[in-house]
Symmetry: C2
């Protein structure tokens, strides 16, 4: 709950996104970044986002996979799913907010008030549109597989015509974007430093276990190199 | 992308939430559950949610901490933050969608199309209201700390009057709620089972590292038992 600091001056748009009214936080502005490399790194380190949209005037937030290709994000789903149907309208598309969050640590302070989380997050505002170009759709579907396991799309059967027809892909351009992060230890008030409570950070990161072969996998199929790393 | 199955019949409301138009998915209905114990277990295993609300007609999704106390969820923030200010209006409160997701595994199928994620998620729809009762507010703030590290609130300095005044707490009742999950291996089409691609699941779970003491922690303060487990 650090105090607010001045908004950083807009940076070169070649290396940073332009801040807007909804990407400049009202609080903890020193934690916000518009740097493209920072945003890309946070997005590239995950594959799960929380996609928000408005249905009948109320918010809906659903977890879904995403992929980044340059300055575009893609999400996909059944052509029968509600948000994808809504985004299929040629105009105006679907207003969305796509958020990606990594938890890096639990921050324990002497005071309950200064407990916090170390995290990195990206929030993208914009309008998602259905991808209609077949080549772009294939690129997006490959990217969605490779976002989860790099190199995997080349080692699986590509979608056939029936599967392509059943899958809708939404594109959201990276334009109105901000990153936010917290790092470091607790920020206790000076008068609390002598209290007898332990203070510090418990690191958190996703851990990947040993791959479990499908029950019907032929014994001759070896574990690929991209999974043994 | 399993095909849709019939909606399960509404269960006893003592043990299950009543399904509604927005908690019955249009697809993969067999993955949905309204069982209270299932919902509680998913909520109790995390502390980070993605909170969605509508601002100026557009969706906003922010990561934030939450706590469950019985059939209520609490989130908190600065009294100066936008969603908390909006929820402070006595009527009608703030329409929100609060979503919690655990990733349990990466599901690799022979076909790109059947790649998936094993996950458990809970989606809560409703109206959040600011907590004004001081006792409920204190209970909620303790629960927010204990949701991250069980037992921690009793081992930290409680919020003082100034901190309480600076912190707003929102309450969202668990009423319109559903859980969704996927488990198990890939569901490849029969004709793909002979393809030479590895198939199976890579397990994923959060891993907690060795606690890192704050730089200014007195050496006499030992690591508490609730962190050494």
């Amino acid at each position: 709950m650090e105090s607010a600091m001045p908004v950083p001056a807009p940076q070169d748009t070649a290396t940073a996104y332009e801040p807007t009214g909804r990407t400049v936080p009202t609080r903890a502005r020193e934690r916000a970044s518009y740097d493209r490399a920072t945003v890309h790194a946070i997005l590239d380190a995950s594959y799960l986002c929380h996609l928000g949209f408005v249905r009948d005037g109320a918010p809906v937030v659903l977890p879904t996979l995403y992929a980044r290709v340059g300055e575009a994000l893609y999400v996909h789903g059944s052509t029968g799913s509600r948000p994808l149907r809504e985004a299929g309208r040629p105009d105006p598309g679907l207003a969305v907010c796509l958020t990606v969050t990594h938890v890096d640590g639990l921050v324990l302070a002497r005071s309950a008030f200064h407990h916090s989380i170390n995290y990195r997050s990206v929030v993208v505002h914009g309008t998602a549109h259905q991808v209609t170009d077949p080549a772009e759709k294939r690129t997006a579907l490959d990217a969605l597989v490779d976002q989860v396991v790099a190199g995997r799309s080349a080692d699986s059967r590509p979608a056939n015509a029936k599967e392509l027809a059943a899958t809708a892909v939404l594109r959201l351009d990276l334009a109105e974007v901000s990153a936010k992060s917290r790092t470091g230890g607790p920020n206790d008030d000076p008068e609390d430093l002598g209290l007898p409570h332990w203070a510090g950070v418990v690191p958190v990161a996703p851990a990947y276990g040993a791959p479990v072969p499908a029950g019907d996998l032929a014994p001759s199929v070896a574990l690929p190199g991209y999974l043994s790393a």
